[in-house]
Structures are given as structure tokens and as C-alpha cells.
């Protein structure tokens, strides 16, 4: 640890690069996956070929792709970002599709019958309801991406992966461990952030509420005349829960 502190400038530099290399592909991934996913649900025939394509992305060895890309993008960040984006798509597109398909049939039917047009229904009903499944996909993609960046070190662009090769060349295991621990920590932190994001985005999910809150909801249902009072408490509990969640987020960071 003291080694990491003494070399904090270097550690900070590679940490930043690692984050950049890992998260930019996720950002690109989600921006592409949502419209593609919508398309696959809307025009069903497009789904089988795209599913095959995502499977290919998933199976493709990233190292091979780095080496191929060097011819086109040489030793720039793109050589790492492009394969990782393809990898994230292989996880995110199926998740977006599953998420959109998880919208219960009565809800979809009600939306159509209320007079939602296709676009509005997608944006206001289907996508919000797909959020839990999409975030589940984002968690897998993000953790994988954070881990996979270090492979880029084999072509010299690997964020914290630098400490693996450098530590190995200098026969200095502490450095390897520092890289390893930081990568694991990064993965945990971003996974936790996504869990919080999900809670914040989906206050409506049955069973996601803290236990006490759920039980209160049931009392309200059965409570009859006392429903007013109990309801008030319930609303407060909701806010308190949210506040606690944010507090937890701060702790992690």
C-alpha cells in the first residue's frame, strides 16, 4: 500500500485511463443497444440475425481483435475501445430485448388501448419497465469491461494492466497486487453504483422496497379507516429509504 501511495501520480494516471477505456465502451454500447433492441422487438425478423451477431462478438477473443485493429487504428485507445464496445453490445442488446419483452401483456395492451402511439409507448411505458433488466445487463457488461481492459496491456494500452506487465518485468509482486486490487475495487464500486441507480430509477418495483416498507403497504391495503394515517407514515418511510441509499453510495465512493 505504501508503494501505491508513493507512486500515487502514476497510479492515478493509470486508474483514470482504465476507467476511460472501460466505461466509454459501455456508454457507446448502451447508446447503440437501446435503438437496436427496440428495432429487434418491433421488427421481429431482425432479431435472429442480430442475436447471431452478438454471439459472435461475445465469442471473439479480444486479443485477436486488438491485433487485427492495430493495422487500422494503430496504437490508439480506439484499438481497445472498439473491441470492448462490441463485447458490451453482445451483453446489452439481448438484455434490452429481454427487458422490452418482459413488459406484461396487460400493461402493453392497456397502453395501446389508452391511445399511446408506438413511439410514445416505447419511451413512456416499455423502456421504463425494461430498466431492471437493462441494468442487470449493464452490471455484467461494466464489470466485464473493467476486467477486460487489462488485456489491452499486451499491446501496451491497458490502464491498470500496466502494473501487471511492469511488475512482472521488475519481478515486483506488490505492483501486480496493487493493480489487481484496484481493478477489483473499481468493478465493485461501479457495480454498486448501478445497483443504486436501479433503486433510484425503479421505486415502483414490488419487492424492491425495504422489508418494513413492504409490510406497511400491506397494512394500508387492509387497514380500512386507519389507511390515511398509515399511508402518511409509509410515504415518509419511502423518503427515508431513499436518503439512506444515497448515504450508502457516498460511503462507497
Amino acid at each position: 500500500m505504501s508503494w501505491a501511495w508513493q507512486n500515487r501520480d502514476q497510479v492515478g494516471h493509470y486508474l483514470g485511463q482504465h476507467l476511460y477505456l472501460a466505461l466509454l465502451p459501455i456508454l457507446f454500447g448502451i447508446v447503440v443497444a437501446i435503438p437496436v433492441g427496440i428495432m429487434c422487438v418491433r421488427w421481429r425478423w431482425t432479431w435472429p440475425p442480430i442475436l447471431s451477431l452478438t454471439s459472435i462478438f461475445y465469442a471473439m477473443p479480444s486479443l485477436a481483435l486488438y491485433l487485427v485493429l492495430i493495422d487500422y487504428t494503430s496504437f490508439t485507445d480506439w484499438t481497445v475501445i472498439i473491441p470492448l464496445t462490441l463485447f458490451s453490445l453482445s451483453v446489452l442488446i439481448p438484455n434490452v430485448v429481454d427487458g422490452l419483452r418482459s413488459v406484461p401483456a396487460p400493461v402493453q395492451q392497456a397502453a395501446v388501448a389508452m391511445g399511446f402511439g408506438t413511439l410514445r409507448r416505447t419511451v413512456q411505458v416499455d423502456l421504463p419497465l425494461a430498466v431492471p433488466v437493462i441494468i442487470a445487463g449493464l452490471r455484467v457488461a461494466t464489470v466485464s469491461s473493467i476486467s477486460l481492459v487489462s488485456v489491452g496491456q499486451l499491446i501496451g494500452i491497458g490502464g491498470l494492466g500496466y502494473f501487471f506487465t511492469d511488475g512482472e518485468q521488475r519481478d515486483f509482486t506488490t505492483e501486480i497486487y496493487v493493480g489487481l486490487v484496484l481493478i477489483i475495487l473499481l468493478a465493485l464500486v461501479f457495480d454498486g453504483l448501478l445497483v443504486l441507480a436501479r433503486r433510484w430509477l425503479t421505486p415502483w418495483e414490488a419487492g424492491r422496497a425495504p422489508r418494513g416498507q413492504r409490510r406497511r403497504a400491506v397494512t394500508v391495503t387492509l387497514g380500512g379507516s386507519s389507511a390515511g394515517l398509515t399511508g402518511g407514515h409509509h410515504a415518509h418511510a419511502g423518503h427515508a429509504g431513499g436518503g439512506g441509499g444515497h448515504g450508502g453510495g457516498g460511503g462507497h465512493g
Partner: protein
């Protein structure tokens, strides 16, 4: 007015869901489509808001072919309630209800005000506004579903098995609620159900479907029970339709015996004389406000001191049993109260709970006979009596009686 003009729906593979259907649904009425599953009732309903398009024929809404109207626009003018409520899980109750107003471009504040209004209308506590659907019971969710359908005040309301996913008690109260709302709002309601009891309870008109997409009979509930068109309809209605039909005759038609309704101050001698005059083996004892308290057998009075008043006798009163309210309740309720009573008699009361007289099997038989005859010769345009619905008769007194008349048997009838 919704008109089906020889509408057929044929699915790929040749299945005919709806077969050359002609149907007129008049404004302001509740039309119930009932039949076994797969009979085309739901398909017919969904063709009205173009969730399904007909293969042949056309559907007119107020003289306009609905195929000529853009589907989303058409749908915003037609309320829709489905079985599982189909609420948007990610929207609060008020935002669920405000869905159509928001689609119509109302500003958020106005849409939410409207949502609060509707919550009140369908009997939901205002403090549920900010909750999410998962926090509500099935019955409450269904109320939200109804409120959402009514939000933009559409003239037409389509209900697709709206109450079949809730338990029988909640279902019954939701049906009562629909009847109450309909009396207030006069929407054109089309309701699909497989439950013939529900059809008879809530429908002004009932269309019974054959299993293959044709209507077997279209009639008022009363006529349906009274004269089913064929064996299929008769079997579909169930075995006790004769009794159920009595729900469409007012207990006001009963010739009640009032000679043996006696206040507690009456002496035993007077009571015996009264009973003799009207030939009744039981007398009904009432309190100072003429509210019935219970029965004495005339044979028991014979052994009591003649100058004593009915209120001071040590003899226990036989339990009153259920009463029925003349003008509000039906012959079915009167018959039921009579069958359940230990004395074979039941007291008819006014809307203040005051005894008007008693009925017996004989008197019921006579009233049923008269009613059946009138029902058969009856003018179909005449407003029919409907149990549990407000009628002019029940309103005559101008005052309402919160206590109602259906007091539990035997309660509060001890002599003081």
C-alpha cells in the same frame, strides 16, 4: 350509439371468432356480452377500439365508420378497463389515472386535479395518489383501472372481464360501484364477462353468445330469465332462473297484511282479537316508532294475562329475521326473508325501517303470479324495476335511512 353491421372476424387458419354480427348498442346503457370462452365476445369488444380489425363488415360509432378514424385518436375517446387492471407499474396512482388527459396534452397540474376528482368518484382515498400499483390490493387496482378509463370523460367505456380477477366479495362491491357510477354518469358501457350472474346484475341489455361467434339472444335481463330463446340460453342461465327473475319484480307489488302488526303497548286481549280478524297465527310486535322487534305466536298469547301489554310480557319474542324494504327490495328478497324466517313470515318496512305489514307464502304466490302476468304482457319500454337501484318509489319519503332495513335476524328484539 355503437352499431355492428354484419361484422365478421376470421383468423388465419379459418377460425371464425365473430360471425356476421349485427348489434346496436344504445347510448347511455350498459350492454353486457356474455358467453363461454372462445365465443367471440372479447373479440367483438376489442373491435370497437380497433385493438382488432374486422375481416368483414363495419362498426359505426355515432354514425361514423371507426375504420376511418386514426386508431390512437379513436382510443383516447373510448375508456378501456381490463381484467388485471393493466396499470402502469412505474407510474403512481394519480399518474396512471391521468394517462389519457396527459396524452391529450393537458398540463400536468390540471391532469392531476382531474385524477384526484376521479379517485374520489371511484372511492379511493386521496392519500393513495402517490403510491405505486404494487402497493394496492386487487380491488383497489381495479378501481384505479376504472378511474383511468374515465379520466378524459369518454362517452364510451369498454370493460373486458373487469372483475373476474378479484375475489367474490370484492367483485360484488365493484359491480355495485359500477351500477352506482353508471346511474350518475350514463356512459355507453360495453362489458364482457363469462359470468351470467354478473351480466344479469349490471346489464341493461344482455347479449348471450353461442360458442361460435353468433348471438343466441339479445334481451333485457328480465326477459332473458323469463323467456330464454332456446335450450342453449336456458342451460347457460342456470337452473334457478325462476327465482332469480323475481329480482326484477318489486316487493311493492305485495299485498301486505298489516292487521297483525301491533305496537308494544297493545294488550294481549287486543292482540288476540286483531290476529283473529286477519286469521294470522303470528303477530309482529313493533316499538314506539313502528320498527319491528319480533314475533309472538297467537297460541302462546292464549296463555298470557289478557290485560298485560305485549311489551311487558315475560314471553320471549321469536327472532324478527330479515326484513325487506318495500320499494327498494324485490320479490326475491321478500321470498328469501320469508323462507329464512322461523315463522314463515317476513316484515316489509319503509325506508325509515317502519313496519308496513307482513307477507306470507300465500301472499307471495299471488304477487308472483300477478307480476309474471304483467311481465309477459309488459311494455318493453317501461322502466323495469331493478333490485338495489334507486327507484322513484324508494325516494318518496325524501329522507334516507342510514340504518337500512336489513337488520340481522334476532338482534335487538328482546322485550324491554
Amino acid at each position: 350509439m355503437i352499431t355492428f353491421e354484419s361484422v365478421t372476424k376470421r383468423y388465419a387458419g379459418g377460425t371464425v371468432a365473430v360471425d356476421a354480427l349485427d348489434l346496436e348498442i344504445p347510448d347511455g346503457q350498459t350492454m353486457v356480452l356474455v358467453g363461454p370462452s372462445g365465443c367471440g365476445k372479447t373479440t367483438s369488444l376489442r373491435m370497437i377500439n380497433r385493438l382488432i380489425d374486422p375481416s368483414e363488415g363495419r362498426i359505426m360509432l355515432d354514425g361514423q365508420d371507426i375504420a376511418q378514424v386514426a386508431a390512437p385518436k379513436l382510443r383516447r375517446g373510448i375508456g378501456y378497463v381490463i381484467q388485471q387492471a393493466g396499470l402502469f407499474p412505474h407510474r403512481t396512482i394519480e399518474d396512471n389515472i391521468a394517462t389519457v388527459p396527459l396524452l391529450e396534452g393537458w398540463n400536468k397540474a390540471r391532469a392531476r386535479d382531474r385524477a384526484r376528482e376521479l379517485m374520489d368518484l371511484v372511492g379511493l382515498d386521496a392519500d393513495m395518489a402517490r403510491r405505486y400499483p404494487y402497493q394496492l390490493s386487487g380491488g383497489q387496482q381495479q378501481r384505479v383501472g376504472v378511474a383511468r378509463a374515465l379520466a378524459a370523460d369518454p362517452p364510451v367505456l369498454l370493460m373486458d372481464e373487469p372483475f373476474s380477477a378479484v375475489d367474490p366479495i370484492v367483485r360484488s362491491s365493484l359491480q355495485d360501484e359500477l351500477i352506482r357510477l353508471q346511474a350518475e354518469l350514463h356512459k355507453t358501457v360495453v362489458l364482457v364477462t363469462h359470468d351470467v350472474e354478473e351480466a344479469i346484475k349490471v346489464g341493461d341489455q344482455v347479449a348471450v353468445f353461442y360458442p361460435h361467434g353468433k348471438i343466441a339472444q339479445l334481451d333485457t335481463p328480465q326477459h332473458l330469465l323469463g323467456s330464454p330463446a332456446d335450450e342453449y340460453v336456458e342451460n347457460f342461465l342456470g337452473f334457478d332462473r325462476g327465482i332469480r327473475r323475481l329480482a326484477f319484480f318489486s316487493a311493492g307489488q305485495l299485498d301486505l297484511e298489516d292487521g297483525c302488526v301491533l305496537p308494544a303497548e297493545t294488550t294481549v286481549d287486543q292482540a288476540r282479537a286483531g290476529a283473529q280478524r286477519c286469521g294470522e297465527p303470528w303477530v309482529l310486535v313493533t316499538d314506539g316508532n313502528r320498527r319491528p322487534r319480533g314475533w309472538f305466536a297467537v297460541s302462546d298469547l292464549d296463555r298470557q294475562p289478557g290485560q298485560e301489554t305485549l311489551g311487558t310480557l315475560s314471553l320471549p319474542l321469536a327472532p324478527l329475521g330479515h326484513t325487506f324494504q318495500v320499494g327498494r327490495d324485490s320479490l326475491r328478497a321478500a321470498l328469501d326473508a320469508t323462507v329464512l324466517s322461523r315463522t314463515g313470515r317476513a316484515a316489509g318496512v319503509d325506508n325509515q325501517g317502519r313496519a308496513l305489514g307482513i307477507t306470507t307464502y300465500e301472499r307471495l304466490r299471488a304477487a308472483i303470479q300477478t307480476a309474471e302476468q304483467a311481465g309477459l304482457d309488459g311494455n318493453p319500454d317501461q322502466p323495469v324495476f331493478r333490485e338495489g337501484r334507486t327507484t322513484p318509489e324508494a325516494q318518496t319519503d325524501g329522507q334516507t335511512d342510514p340504518a337500512g332495513s336489513a337488520e340481522p335476524a334476532g338482534e335487538g328484539v328482546r322485550p324491554s
